[in-house]
Each structure stands twice: as structure tokens, then as C-alpha cells.
Symmetry: C2
Subunit: 328 residues, 2 copies
């Protein structure tokens, strides 16, 4: 009888990125019983990918001391545009050669448990909603600051997936229509062109030409310049690093304000390596939200850092599988 209870209350979450797969067994309250990872080796293609996924999943179960029979359902978060209803990869630049692959059904076949497929940024947002910084809220938006800017929206307890699985692609909203910076997607003036970790480093490299005496110069020369280094130098008081982080906070505050004006969430969260910049960075983002959003919105919406770090994706995927299994 005890094992019956446990059987119905364990979920496997998988977070399939272009570089790494993270996985963990998660209990009914959103607590991870294990947390493992492995290389995706996406270039080997989706059939090999299924083998790797199965291997990482098996390790996650072993690390959690859980048997497959105890897994009620599997949630699989994956990078890119997905057809959630069909469980198919539509367009995933980080998973070359996987476009069109019926990843959801094939993973279900391989793992032998009911499997739901969802976008990885949406999974992370649902993780924070279910078991992280948003666990007492009804709606939130999570921005994850990395190579790009991932974004996921939870509204009335559901992921806002949108008509074509493209809900929450807020990194590509335009915040500077005239004279905007080029974005990785080929357009200009998008939030991601200013405030992803990659863009912050690019802006630092450009700015170092005019301000060569910044402490960032040495990092550029020894190849260690990263967004985390810039965030740390800002905390230490480097003038250029501080200005870059201030400008980044401004762009993120505008992005947050724009999403608030659209979906009016209870909470906006920021996650990713950049939050190492700490509380002064968070305060700067909040000030910029107030500067750009209507007071009715900015005065009522909390802005915080995310809480689950790199585990948000697999926890949220597991939570979404749980929701699909047991309902709201």
C-alpha cells in the first residue's frame, strides 16, 4: 500500500538542451529526488538522441532510488519550437536534424511511461511556478538569461503555449525600433540583442575600445570575459562593468514592463547566470520597470530572481507531466 502511494506520486523530468540533458525524479510536491546530467550530442541525430535520453533517464531513476514502475509520467522539455499536441519538433536550431521528429511519442515508446513534450523555457517557468520562487502565485513570467533570452509564461496555472507553440518568445520583442542593435535572429532592436549574456559580452567588447583601462580588459585578453565576470566586476565597482549592467537592467526592465502590460502576471522572475550580479542588479531592474510601465502595473507586480537555478527545467517538465496526468 505504501508503494502504491509512492507509485502515483513520482515523475521524471527531462530537460533536453542543445548541449546538455538534465534529468531528475521529482516527487508530488515538486521536490527533486535526484538530479543528473549528460551530453546531448545533438549532432548524432534524434535516434541516437533517444538512446542518450534513455540512458540519462535510467541514471536519474537510479540516483533517486526509484523504479520505472514508480514513475507516473514523464515530462520532456526541449529547446525550440514544438507542436505540443502532436509531440513533434517543428524548428529547433539547437538540435540540428531533429526538425519534424515525433519526439514526444518516440520518447514515450522508449521510456514506457506516458510522456508530454513542452518547450524548455516554458518548462522552467512552470517549475518556478510549481516549486520555486512562484509557488504561491497564480501567474508568472520567467526570463532566463543565457546565450539567448528564454521566456515562459504561466497564466491561471497553465503554460501559455500559444496557438503555434510560440507563446513567451519575448526575447524577440522589439524595444528599440529605430537604430536598434542587430539580434542573433537577423532582426534588429530585439530585447535579446541587448540583454542576453552573449549580448552583454558583445557590448563589453565594443565598449572596451573606448574605455581600455577597465579591469575587463585583462579578462578580454586572457579569454575569460563572460557575463558572469562582468556582473562580478560591477559588484566590485568597475565603472564600465557597472554601466553595462545598468544598461542591461534597463533593457530587462523594459522587457518585463512590456510583458506586464500584455499579460499582467502576479510575478516576473529573472534566472540564469546573470543573477550573480545580485540585489543591486535586481533593484535596478525594478526601478526600470517603474520607469517604463504604467504605475497601475508596476506598483502591483513583484519582480524577483528565480529560485531553482538549472533544475527549473526538469522540475517544471515533471510538474507539467503531473498536471497532464492528474488534472489541475
Amino acid at each position: 500500500m505504501g508503494s502504491e502511494v509512492r507509485r502515483s506520486s513520482c515523475y521524471l523530468g527531462l530537460d533536453l538542451g542543445g548541449t546538455n540533458i538534465k534529468a531528475g525524479v521529482v516527487d508530488d510536491s515538486g521536490r527533486p529526488l535526484s538530479s543528473v546530467s549528460g551530453a546531448t550530442r545533438a549532432a548524432l541525430g534524434p535516434e541516437a538522441g533517444l538512446d542518450i535520453l534513455g540512458e540519462v533517464a535510467t541514471r536519474a531513476l537510479a540516483a533517486g532510488g526509484v523504479d520505472w514502475s514508480e514513475i507516473a509520467a514523464v515530462g520532456l522539455g526541449a529547446a525550440g519550437t514544438l507542436d505540443a499536441a502532436e509531440g513533434r519538433v517543428v524548428d529547433a536550431s539547437n538540435l540540428p536534424g531533429w526538425d519534424g521528429f515525433p519526439l514526444g511519442p518516440r520518447a514515450q515508446e522508449r521510456l514506457g511511461r506516458p510522456t508530454v513534450l513542452l518547450n524548455d523555457a516554458n518548462a522552467a517557468a512552470f517549475g518556478e511556478y510549481w516549486a520555486g520562487a512562484g509557488r504561491s502565485t497564480g501567474s508568472l513570467v520567467l526570463f532566463t538569461l543565457g546565450t539567448g533570452i528564454g521566456c515562459g509564461i504561466v497564466e491561471s496555472g497553465r503554460i501559455l503555449e500559444g496557438r503555434h507553440g510560440l507563446g513567451g518568445e519575448c526575447g524577440h520583442m522589439t524595444i528599440q525600433m529605430d537604430g536598434g542593435r542587430p539580434c542573433s535572429c537577423g532582426k534588429t532592436g530585439h530585447l535579446e540583442a541587448y540583454a542576453s549574456a552573449t549580448s552583454v559580452v558583445r557590448r563589453a567588447v565594443e565598449a572596451l575600445e573606448a574605455e581600455p583601462d577597465s579591469s575587463l580588459r585583462a579578462s578580454l585578453e586572457d579569454g575569460s570575459l563572460s557575463c558572469r565576470v562582468i556582473a562580478e566586476r560591477a559588484v566590485e565597482g568597475d565603472r564600465l562593468a557597472s554601466r553595462l549592467m545598468r544598461e542591461t537592467a534597463r533593457c530587462l526592465g523594459i522587457g518585463a514592463a512590456n510583458v506586464m502590460q500584455t499579460v499582467d502576471p502576479e510575478l516576473v522572475l529573472f534566472g540564469g547566470g546573470m543573477i550573480a550580479a545580485g540585489s543591486s542588479f535586481l533593484k535596478a531592474i525594478r526601478a526600470e520597470v517603474s520607469e517604463h510601465a504604467s504605475p497601475a502595473v508596476s506598483g502591483r507586480t513583484r519582480v524577483e530572481f528565480a529560485a531553482l537555478g538549472g533544475e527549473a527545467g526538469f522540475i517544471g517538465a515533471a510538474g507539467w507531466a503531473r498536471k497532464a496526468t492528474i488534472g489541475p
Copy 2:
């Protein structure tokens, strides 16, 4: 028995703006059986407003040949920020002195039928979704171009009201963070600062200083310059008017793109007097959406003009009341 069927299938929609009240009886399929209007006289305050509301409602019933006993429910769309759950006006700049007034419950008491309160821009969006240009879709965004830019979002068949009743306030999203135009709300760079009917006229006045030979000059001098006049002159080939409408289309395309990147609707609609600019204006908006949104989004989302004109608000309010009464 025939009258029983009719009784359960008629709804009264009210659209309470700062200047006018529009009202109509709407049948179960979204067809208006009547359409009347009257002056709001908002400055007289909410108690007098209830009398006026009651009078307009009675006229709407008479014009539709419908008795109060045949009205299953009433939907009341009102300008401003509302607490939908409590049916209270929170902050309505167009209804001075009404802040805090429990408009929903008091209107229900006055009219004697179950009454739901909702934001007027949301009501218009729901009207287009239920019975207008979006009647075959599951989700849409409606931008209404007037003194300001109203916006409403319907997602999975529900109005996206947001946590604080502020969902779909997209006129105040930032599209130009550096060097943006001042907005009526006191911030800068908002969509409304560029593309509301009022802003287009303001931009025309500014531009006429540099281009005094435009045919718009005479309209400015005789006091007839309006957004509709500018739109018409653009169709006739006036160079300045054409440029103004092209720039307006650009801003609206960016606003539409930003909302698409966030909620990924099936359809984006534009309504209001400005759509008199016709199909070339619509084509220009679509081209700008493609220019600024990700191809995955812009290639899959329809952009059209709204279909219900000034009746969208009361039709949608009636439809929302119907949904509240009979469920999805």
C-alpha cells in the same frame, strides 16, 4: 415554449465610455437585435450614471422588441481599470469621480438581471472573437485605435484579464527606449505615443512645419485635421499623409509583433477610425510584422481589420455575460 427558448437566449450589452454609452440586445449567436446610444455625462458621477445607464438599457430593449424577462444576463464594459471579481471601478480617468464605485453590483441591482463588469477594450476583443472577424478562431488580439490605443486579448476562448485586471494594456508597451516620443501617460517611447489617432494628428502638426505644402495644411488651418482626414489624404496620394500612415503602420506592426511574440495568438485585429486608410494600410502593417517578428510567428499569424466597428464593445460585453451564465 417558444418564449422560453427566446428568454434563455437574449443578452444585454452595455459599453460605457467617457463620452457615450452604447447598448444593444444581442441574441444567442451574437447578432445585435438593437443598437442605441446616449451621452454618459460622466461628470455627474456614478449615481446619476446608473440612471442614465438604466435609461439607455430600456431604450435598447424597446428598440429590440424585447422584455426585461427575456434578458438572461447583462454585460457591462467600462473604460478604465476594474476589479472584475468585485465588479468595482479601480481607476478610470475617463469616468472622473467613479473610482472605487461598485459598478457591477449596483448596475445588477438597478437592472434586475445578473450583470458582469469587464474592461471595454476587452469587451470589444471578445465581441470580435464571438461574432466578428475572429469568430472561427480560438485566440486573438484586438488593437482599437482612437484617442488612445485600446487592446484586448482572448486566449483559449477566455479574456486574458490578468492578475490585476490590467491584461492587454499593450498601448503602453515601450517600442523605442532611447529618444522615444512622450506618451499621454507621462512615460516615453510607448506604442500609443506614436500610433493612436491623437498621436498621428500630433505628428502631422509637427511635420507640417517642415512640409508646409502638404494638402494637410488646409485641414490644420480650418480645424478639420483628424486621423481620418490624414488616412484619406494618404489614399489620395498626399506625400506627407502617406509617410505618416507608413510610419504609423510600422509602429503598429511592431506592437503586433511584440504581442505575437508574447501570447502567440491565431489572429491580430485592428479596429477604430484609422482603418478607413484601407487595404494598403493593412498590407503595410503586415509587412512590418514580418520585418520585426520571428518568421515562425509572423508566417503563421493572420493580421486583419476588425469587423464589428463601434458595436464590438456591447456585443462582446453581452457575449461575456452569456459565457458567465452558460459556461464555455
